[in-house]
């Protein structure tokens, strides 16, 4: 364990001196170190990968605040925790902001949705019949648990366009399910 720590500190010292290979090794080792830490705290593997990339970028940005004389791990975990909290704060704030979207979905479905012929499968089948982009957005938001903002980043649209597309999809679904 101590040898591994010495290695990390040594690698960082070499990196700060401009050794690109040492830096690549350090970042790879850091990613390996942080992945289980993030996986235990986040639900989706794509979230873990996205956040891991953000943390590596932050390490790169803050590299001048490490002098190679103190343990490396507390420094890197401080940055990782900071980014994780930031991510969770943004994630839950986004969920709260868009709580209305989910209410809207509940409103459009008939009250006795679970007692009638409407089942998860039938709704899923209707979702599949939607235009490809709308179906993808609904799948990402309601099956995979992404926020509108995350969906926007994932499929290269802006956030409001995602919300508009989702809204239109809800409307179409309502019409079809009420028939």
């Amino acid at each position: 364990m101590s040898e591994q720590n010495d290695n990390l500190e040594g690698l960082m010292r070499q990196s700060l001196a401009g050794d690109q290979r040492a830096y690549a090794a350090l970042l790879t080792e850091t990613a390996r170190l942080l992945k289980p830490f993030l996986s235990r705290r986040l639900r989706f593997s794509n979230e873990v990968d996205d956040l891991l990339q953000e943390i590596l970028l932050s390490i790169h940005k803050a590299r001048h605040t490490y002098d190679g004389k103190r343990p490396y791990k507390p420094w890197v975990y401080a940055i990782a925790k900071f980014r994780l909290l930031d991510h969770l704060r943004a994630h839950y704030a986004d969920h709260l902001r868009h709580a209305g979207d989910y209410d809207e979905l509940e409103e459009i479905l008939p009250d006795d949705v679970t007692e009638t012929a409407l089942s998860y499968e039938s709704i899923s089948a209707e979702v599949e019949k939607l235009p490809a982009k709308q179906a993808t957005i609904l799948r990402l938001m309601h099956q995979d648990g992404y926020t509108a903002k995350e969906v926007a980043a994932k499929i290269g649209m802006n956030e409001s366009a995602v919300k508009v597309a989702a809204h239109r999809a809800y409307k179409i679904l309502r019409e079809r399910l009420e028939r």
Binding site: L16, D49, Q53, S58, H60, T65, Y66
Partner: protein, 211 residues
């Protein structure tokens, strides 16, 4: 090649020799030195209170100035530690301003008790707060500018502590410049605004120090 590998390759190809940030002790010494020099110059320009010889034999006045000075030093040190993601692994020291703050409040409390009969209130009021705020501007600007070059993971606290440090400079200047023995006035218009400044610092930290 997956995304992480690609990012590692990009970042490592961007790596050049890096000059490490100065040790937080050195950084805080720079801030303290500059702020002390600024305080001396301001006092030289505006003048020391004419009754300073008499004031500096009053034990509670000495205690007030000493604890305020300690607050200025320790907040500068704490702000420097808070500029580093891991607080330079000196967590206890980063939260040390609590100690001079408690001593300062105690000194004010005893000064208030010993102010019997109470000294007459001066005619002015909010002018004192405004003067302190104006005086603290320069040290605050410099500290924030310096803090932005680092990577604080406690940016709200760093902003608040940095602003309190700058406020202490302004408060020290006014206590050493103004002839005023009313502790009620000093508490109301010199020191209570410190709480508001601390809160503004939390907000400024979030706005200016987030990275």
């Amino acid at each position: 090649m997956n995304d992480i590998e690609q990012l590692v390759a990009t970042l490592s190809s961007d790596m050049q020799p890096v000059k490490s940030a100065p040790h937080p002790y050195k950084l805080s010494l720079q801030w303290i030195g500059a702020a002390a020099l600024y305080l001396l110059v301001t006092l030289a320009l505006t003048g020391l209170r004419p009754d300073w010889r008499e004031s500096f034999v009053e034990p509670w006045f000495i205690a007030e100035i000493a604890t305020l000075f300690a607050l200025f030093i320790v907040t500068a040190l704490s702000a420097a530690l808070l500029a580093f993601p891991d607080l330079h692994q000196k967590r206890l020291l980063a939260f040390a301003p609590v100690v001079p703050a408690v001593l300062f409040v105690a000194a004010i409390f005893f000064a208030w008790h010993s102010d019997n009969p109470p000294a007459p209130l001066p005619e002015h009021s909010i002018e004192c707060t405004c003067s302190i705020l104006l005086t603290m501007l320069l040290p605050a600007l410099w500290t924030f500018y310096s803090l932005r070059r680092y990577a604080s993971t406690h940016y709200r606290l760093a902003g608040s502590i940095a602003l309190l440090s700058a406020f202490s400079v302004g408060a020290l200047w006014l206590r050493l410049h103004e002839v005023n023995d009313s502790i009620a006035h000093v508490v109301e218009w010199h020191y209570l605004p410190m709480l508001g400044v601390g809160l503004i610092g939390l907000w400024l930290g979030r706005v200016l120090l987030k990275w």
